[in-house]
């Protein structure tokens, strides 16, 4: 197997991946890693699941508040961020594909675009947060809205908004770290069609982060 890797991937010898001593073969190791990562993603969904439940509870308790408060969120900015994240998911998928098909030169630029989108998302989010904070919407002790249209219990809406998008933002930050990590490895030509597990897993993670935003966007910005 080592011969095949060396020929097909053009890997430097020291980066060759060794299958763990407790796995039967590379296929066994790869599927085990993937199964483990799916389970990890399940825990992520449940982590956010709790917050979505809180959202459902309070939206059904205060439907008018949610409707009025959501008017203060910027729909264009949310929409742009949605597009940015979907694009980044697309380039991430392309990067995984490039690794699978051994097109090593394409991996790094595709990951770079993904990374750029992730940063862009955070920059847009920063300006959104800034505007909210200036209007006194930061929840908790700092909640001091001063617009005439502010509904009662708006703090609950903005509390959930900041906690949910904030936790999502932390996941974007985590994703930035992970993508940078595989970019460094890809630059060293450590991935090939023989072994690209980290690319695959970071890809799965990034799609989940994207997916969570795809739920957050309509739930907060597009309340009918």
């Amino acid at each position: 197997m080592s011969e095949i890797t060396a020929e097909s991937g053009g890997l430097k010898k020291e980066f060759e991946h060794h299958v763990g001593h407790h796995f039967a073969d590379a296929e066994n190791e790869f599927t085990a890693n993937k199964l483990g990562f799916w389970l990890f993603l399940a825990t992520e969904i449940l982590l956010f699941g709790g917050l979505f439940v809180a959202y459902v509870v309070f939206r059904s308790t205060y439907p008018m508040t949610f409707h009025e408060a959501h008017e203060h969120l910027s729909k264009p900015m949310g929409a742009i961020n949605t597009i940015v994240l979907i694009c980044s998911s697309f380039t991430m998928a392309m990067a995984v594909r490039a690794a699978q098909t051994n097109q090593q030169k394409r991996i790094v630029p595709l990951l770079a675009i993904t990374l750029a989108c992730a940063f862009m998302f955070l920059v847009i989010k920063f300006f959104e947060y800034k505007a909210k904070i200036e209007h006194g919407y930061l929840p908790g002790y700092w909640y001091t809205p001063h617009l005439a249209t502010d509904p009662p219990n708006g703090n609950i809406f903005f509390g959930l908004y900041f906690v949910m998008t904030g936790l999502h933002g932390l996941h974007v930050l985590g994703g930035i770290g992970a993508i940078t990590w595989i970019m460094v490895k890809a630059k060293k030509r450590q991935f090939s069609s023989e072994w690209y597990t980290p690319v695959e897993l970071v890809g799965m993670y990034w799609h989940l982060v994207d997916l969570i935003w795809i739920y957050l966007f309509p739930l907060f910005y597009l309340i009918g």
Partner: protein, 546 residues
């Protein structure tokens, strides 16, 4: 790997002798060493939690102040609960004994992700450090359930404790995730799901809950911390929030967590009873599937902790109804274990004594659970010592008995040493008697109206409280005795044979203690772990009926 083939015909090195020195332990990736380190860690947690329990029982020896103030008492019972639940019971069987035996039982060399395994151990240590910080900084007095609004208002260290449990949650999730993947991907060739020892089915159910329920307590604690730090108002009615929502979140994890605690114990009982009764387990598939059924049903009954919290009447009735369903798979297990022993050649060694204690005590714990699941009865008994007694019968009479059964059963395999069997049996009897004296009285106290968590009580309860305290001290001395003979076993115990109990479990077909990669030669799986009939011959009478 050329070196390995050279080594193959040399006698193998045991995992204990492989690479000595504390560094080789601290950085180890060997699941057996990690299991042993977990065992030491959770035993220390048990000791600390136990000391808090003794303090509670001393304080309650007389009404009014005995040795501590009411504020201290609140902290002591809270810490007893938190340490026992999050630092001891939840990781005890899966992370310590499961880690050690799961890969051996499926013929694997290690768990699927050894690095994640050691990481989850150090996450446990981190969680324990946070807990220690909480104790040292201000203590915590909310009860282990952290109910809002009090947990938002109290001046004790809720944030430290919350972060600690958040980190412990990760430890638990990673262990569960690791075990699930290991069982799916690393079973030895030819070992089907239904050829696995039943301990593993129990661990599988446990791991499912660990992965799927624990994130919810994580987010609950994050929200609680956000509530304390920023005062967002999600759980605060004054700000439009809902304190009952906290209880829903909390129990959505913490009820399934009860099954994280009991399921692995049930797995041990299946192993111990078959070994010491020399009988094929009765109804393998029923026991296997009942583990999964318990895991699934466990997610649907959290509301029975909240019958008097103000949830809707419809929800209350549905939760009560679903709660009764959990009794079915639990009862299947108890009946099947009992039937397994029928016409068996029962040997009353220490592990079996604990397994039998489990059967008695868990049955009492389970049946009193039905009292509490019934709405009208629960309204009377809720928040009394009846509840305290009930969950101690399940958690201590169940899980801790099973843990002790497993610890004695596998001790020779793990350490390569035998313990003093006579002292072991004396200890088991002391535990059984001490436990019942402590907690049977609490059923009576509760049914007479003694509320849980109270510092002071009416004089009429004094006799029963004192009896309960005497029981607790007997229990405490039993643990002291265990510590003595285990230490003695490590220092000067007789060398353990590979299979001291004559068990057919796969783990007994490798040397004691096992070699680094678990087996020198793969075990012959044509004889299953319960084929006692094939090996020892069937009892004539039972044969005719079957």
């Amino acid at each position: 790997m050329a070196t390995q083939t050279l080594d193959a015909h040399r006698p193998s090195v045991s995992y204990l002798d492989a690479a000595k020195g504390w560094k080789n332990w601290a950085y180890t990736l060997d699941h057996k060493r990690i299991g042993v380190m977990y065992l030491i860690a959770v035993s220390l947690a048990l000791l600390v939690g136990g000391i808090f329990a003794m303090l509670i029982r001393i304080e309650l020896f007389t009404p009014g102040k005995t040795i501590m103030t009411a504020e201290t008492y609140n902290k002591v019972f809270t810490l007893h609960g938190i340490i026992m639940v999050f630092l001891f019971i939840i990781p005890s069987i899966p992370a310590a004994l499961g880690n050690f035996f799961l890969p051996i039982m499926i013929g694997a060399k290690d768990v699927a992700f050894p690095r994640l395994n050691i990481a989850s151990y150090y996450l446990w240590i981190t969680g324990a450090i946070f807990t220690l910080a909480a104790i040292l900084i201000n203590g915590i007095d909310t009860g282990w359930t952290f109910y809002t609004p009090y947990s938002v208002q109290t001046h004790t260290s809720v944030i430290w404790m919350g972060l600690g449990i958040f980190v412990l949650g990760f430890s638990s999730i990673f262990t569960g995730l690791n075990f699930l993947v290991t069982m799916h991907k690393l079973r030895m060739p030819g070992l089907g799901w239904f050829d696995m020892p039943l301990f593993l089915w129990a661990i599988y159910g446990t791991a499912l809950i660990q992965v799927l329920a624990t994130p919810v307590i994580g987010i609950t604690l994050l929200l609680l911390i956000a509530e304390r730090v920023m005062h967002i108002g999600i759980f605060d009615p004054a700000l439009g929030g809902d304190p009952v929502l906290f209880q829903h979140f909390f129990w959505f994890y913490s009820h399934p967590a009860v099954y994280i605690m009991i399921l692995p114990g049930m797995g041990i009982i299946s192993e111990v009873i078959t070994t010491f009764a020399r009988r094929h387990v009765f109804g393998y598939r029923f026991i296997a599937f009942s583990s999964i059924a318990i895991a699934v049903l466990g997610f649907l009954v959290w509301g029975h902790h909240m019958f008097v919290s103000g949830q809707s009447e419809v929800a209350t009735m549905v939760f009560s109804f679903l709660t009764f369903f959990v009794a079915i798979p639990s009862a299947i297990k108890v009946f099947n274990w009992t039937t397994t022993m029928y016409k068996g050649q029962i040997a009353l060694d220490t592990p079996m004594l604990y397994a039998l204690s489990f059967l008695f005590l868990f049955s009492i714990g389970g049946l009193t659970g039905i009292f509490l699941g019934a709405l009208s009865v629960d309204v009377h008994l809720t928040d009394t010592y009846f509840v305290v007694a009930h969950f101690h019968y399940v958690m201590m009479g169940g899980t801790v008995m099973a843990f002790l059964a497993g610890l004695h059963y596998w001790w020779p395999k793990m350490t390569g040493r035998m313990y003093n069997e006579k002292l072991g049996r004396i200890g088991a009897v002391m535990v059984f008697v001490g436990f019942n004296v402590t907690f049977l009285t609490q059923f009576v106290l509760g049914s007479q109206g003694m509320p849980r968590r109270y510092y002071d009580y009416l004089p009429k309860y004094e006799k029963l409280h004192q009896m309960s305290s005497f029981g607790a001290w007997l229990l405490g001395s039993a643990f002291l005795l265990m510590t003595i003979y285990f230490v003695q076993s490590l220092r000067s115990g007789a060398k353990a044979p590979d299979n001291p109990w004559g068990s057919l479990g796969f783990e007994w077909r490798t040397p004691s203690p096992p070699p680094v990669e678990n087996y020198d030669t793969p075990p012959d799986i044509s004889i299953g772990p319960y084929d006692y009939g094939k090996v020892y011959g069937k009892p004539a009478q039972a044969d005719a009926k079957a």
